[in-house]
């Protein structure tokens, strides 16, 4: 398999390479300091969030960079987090569930579609593939004026999580399909042929060969879908309301109306970050080598 081999390639090459000037210690020091500088700045929002979540209003106002003071730490944290939880608590688990269900649905549908379009042989395959691909040219934002009346009035699903997820799952199949198809088609055909010879049907092949072989890319897509739905703002703001509203929108409303201020806002961001920790860990494990990312090209 290609993707496993590539990872070890740079190491094997390094053995007999020349020593370049930039590999000198002083040059490396400069490079690493520039990189670390960028890294530190990327951490700015995160740093502010963590530090300020444990500070009182006055401390945040005076200096946002200062570390929390031990004397006020417990009291500030208690106040901030209880205020934050009061606002986003009721929406927290429901949003995670919605994002989870949506991501599973989106990934599964894309995978099945990609399977059909990769391994099945039929006359109108190219035409149907083009039908799916062509929609990528249409920006997603264009459909909302039609989508709102469709979901709210025609299906009568306004302000329900099902109505919220339906177009996300139903309309989100194309990107995943496109991604999966590229990876599915790289899978060794011999495996499929022998499985067929052994009498495995499509469902078995899909579950036992295709999915396990493409697990990293499926996870990648799943993680992307999850954080996509978790971070969704536009569609949620259009179709959901009140108790059903997602975390992101609740958070925005609380900040925009100044219901939650200073330390408590940061506490809110900390709480809302937890579900994404797991997605980040998965991404870290599979994607830091950059291999999958390299597959995204035109």
């Amino acid at each position: 398999m290609d993707m496993v081999n590539v990872q070890s390639q740079p190491k094997s090459l390094r053995k007999h390479k020349l020593r370049m000037p930039y590999e000198a210690n002083w040059a490396q020091a400069i490079i690493i300091s520039v990189v670390v500088f960028c890294l530190l700045f990327s951490f700015l929002p995160l740093f502010l969030t963590i530090v300020n979540a444990f500070k009182t209003k006055e401390q945040v106002q005076v200096n946002a960079f200062s570390l929390p003071m031990l004397s006020t730490f417990a009291q500030a944290a208690g106040e901030n987090f209880s205020t934050a939880w009061k606002v986003i608590g009721p929406h927290y688990f429901s949003t995670i569930m919605v994002a989870l269900i949506g991501a599973i649905g989106q990934t599964l549908i894309s995978a099945v579609l990609a399977y059909i379009l990769s391994f099945k042989n039929f006359y109108f395959k190219d035409a149907i593939f083009m039908l799916f691909i062509a929609i990528l040219l249409v920006p997603s934002i264009i459909g909302y004026p039609i989508l709102i009346p469709l979901i709210r009035d025609t299906f009568n699903l306004g302000n329900t999580h099902f109505g919220f997820l339906l177009p996300i799952v139903g309309g989100g199949q194309v990107t995943g399909m496109f991604l999966f198809r590229t990876f599915f088609s790289q899978q060794p055909r011999s495996l499929y042929e022998s499985a067929k010879l052994d009498g495995a049907n499509d469902a078995v092949i899909f579950a036992k060969i295709t999915i396990p072989l493409a697990l990293p890319i499926i996870l990648y897509h799943f993680v992307g879908c999850f954080s996509g739905i978790y971070n969704e703002y536009l569609w949620a703001s259009l179709i959901l309301d009140g108790d059903k509203q997602t975390l992101t929108n609740t958070m925005y409303a609380a900040v925009a109306t100044q219901d939650v201020t200073y330390g408590a806002t940061y506490a809110m961001y900390v709480i809302s970050s937890f579900p994404l920790i797991i997605t980040v860990i998965i991404s870290m494990k599979y994607f830091k080598s950059g291999e999958f990312a390299a597959g995204l090209k035109l």
């Binding site: 020349l18 059909i116 950059g290």
Partner: protein
Amino acid sequence: MGYKMSLNVTNQDRKNVKSTCLVLGIILAIFTCLTTLFGVLIPRAKEVKALGEDKEEIYSMIEGEDGDDYFLMTKGSYTLYRFDSFTDEQISTFEMSKIADKLKEKGDYGKLIAGSLTQWSVKCIDDLDQTYFLAYDGGGNIFKLLDDGVNLTVTDDYYLAESATAIKGCDNVEDDLYVLAKDDKNLSYVRKYSVSDLKDGYGNNQKLLWNATTKENGKELTPMKSADMGVLTFDATKDGIYLFLSGGTMLKVGMDMVDAKVNGVGVDYFELADAYYGSAEYTAEYNKAYKQFFLDMFTYALSSKDDETKAEYPQEKIDAATAEQIITYYTEIGGLILPDDKGDAKEYAAEKAGDAFVKNNPWCESYDKNTQTLVIDESYLDASQYSIARWEDSINGVVFSKKNNTAYFANATDGYLYSVEKSDMDKMTIGSFFDAVAKKIETVCCEEGQTFSDFGNGISYNKFANTLFLKFKDERTVSIVDLNDKENYEIIHTFAGSFHMFGMTGDKDNEVTHVLYQAETVALDGTPSTHMYACTYQPERFANKTLTTWVFVICLVLTVIVLIMFLWLFIALKNDRSMYKVKVIQRDFKKNKYVYLALTFFVILLCMFCYYEAIGAISMSFFNYTRDEPAWIWNNFGNYLKIFNQDDFLLSVGNMLFFLVFDLILSIVPPLVFAFLLILIRNQTASNWIRSLMFIPGIIPSMATMLIWREGIYGADGVFNQLIGGETIHFLANSDYARWSLILMGFPFVGGYLIFYGGMINIPHEYHEAGWLEGLGLFKRFILVDIPLILPQIKYIFIMTFIGSVQNYARTYILGSAGTKTPVESMYRAMTEQADYGMASAYATIIFAFLFVAVATNFKMQKKETMGDDL
């Protein structure tokens, strides 16, 4: 195309295809006929067009004498056009200027003064002896027009009301004419004239029989303040006059009372009820008490202030101030903490005022501070003669049917129609509620979640057929309710049209309904204007419009499919290659039927949630379609005209391009450099750590990141202001900084490095070594070796950023405020704040067109690559 099958075309195949072709041909013929039939059957509203040579604006619609004809009045020349109810053909015209001619003829120039003889209204009066029309103008003149069935003529006798009042309505009971007029102080009056007395004259024989505004002792009273009580309808009956006011209030003045007033009796009662409704005295009393309360508080608060403040409010100023001004002064000196305390103080003042009023007026029993109403001593009342009843819910409209002696209310709160019989109304006393006597008509209600239209009047009455027209808000539907069977009210028709209804009339058999409706048009310079149009519906046919339309669409689609199949098979008959294809496809469908079945599911989802939206939005951009009025109304490119003529349209496009250029640069250059630097790091452990750590900022949800930038970094108490110190800079609210602040957001912009890094590690090391041996420096290597080799990744990021940047509404919506508007933000606002989906679609279409051209050009420029290979 890797799909091949070895097949031979046999004669048997040709025969099969031939017979299939024949069957398809027959089906095609049937479907064509059905499509044509249903196409013809789709009901269409008949527009009334011929209205004057210069297409004057329609102004009002007037029902004819027996439902056989109706009139349209135009603005400007004030011409009455008479139309046949059924054919919509113009029968005759009558110019209101003929009245002026008549006056001139008589030498009565007194009537030709400014302000009169315009804003005409016409009402058909059913008298026992004859049918005639009363025309009244905005200046207080009433004229009688005789009707011979075809033409109207000004009679020699014409009536005159008083000048300086606008006549809002008139009604007659036999020989008595009641006129509702409004004066320049916006006060409403009802006056009674005897028709036989009012002849030929400018005060010659006219005798005011009764004037609801005049008190017998000569003191002027104003019984109705129209600011308080917009009169919805006004009906005079033999028993009395009924005024139905907005807010669901009925005011009845019994005829005996009217006559008593004429004869100078019963003054007290009248005065009493006047007071209840906010007479001049009541208002004055009330305001006095109200003012006193605030005056006390203000004086008290002022006493504690310094001399300079006190000097600003001299006694003369306070004495001359109204209650509202006192409140303002009070607020100015800081005596009132707004907004919460103001509400309480006002309430308290109202209570005080009420108490004071009760004390001063013997006929008041008590004052209820909760409802802010006065309870009136029953001994002062005579219910049969004078009553005021109210409705606790909000009312969208009311009509009074003289035929049924019943009033019908469209209740906006629960969406039901209610009826109140006149006999019940007469029993009501002052302060009683309609709810007690109103009968809810269970069979007539809006659909769940809907309500009656609050545009114009939610309810209209067709006196010829004795039916009601009910207009609903969210759907542009009209329901026609039969009122003839009192036990069982029935909706006989419900029909939908694309209109914003203003008025309706119908004929006696409910065959036609004339609708005066308002529609918006947009001029070429983008200024919208509303115009009135009239059209005719046939309710019976329109009731099935949706069904017929759907059947038509389905038939049309099926016809097209059958036609394509037929043509294809027909060609196949003549051509062996096509014949071969037919056979291949036949086999394919048989073999892969489950694949096609599964794909149907995916294709349906795709069509339902992608194609339908895209095509629908582009179509919708040419129509008026809002959340409150969800009907497709063609508006002659009005949405686009409005967008292109906006003052800040160019600015918003400029902003879009500004952000686009910077987004493209910042999403490519810094990540490329960063990825390159990472590649250069010799120590793999360090590189690994850095790459792992780069994921961690991603745990913050994107909304939180934006809000951190908005509040924590750019905010008034944010990082930047803390670092700079001194005067607070509003980075996002200041148009000098706003755009650049938005660009700077996300510094150091290296988040998307991974794709480039992934591409770079795949570049064989030999290239670099060879380059180095050839004398390429690090910079040259980056430009000449690395970048060209990861061009596919750069292209990917380029396209994705391009699409993302143009669609990025959140950045400017959440962070921007000063001069950072972009088209996509306008679209978002049109969708959410204005709920104008047609407008939002127009924005979406413009964005789509821009993106489509840009992306398609980009794809075209690239080498045509195979889109994955077939296995």
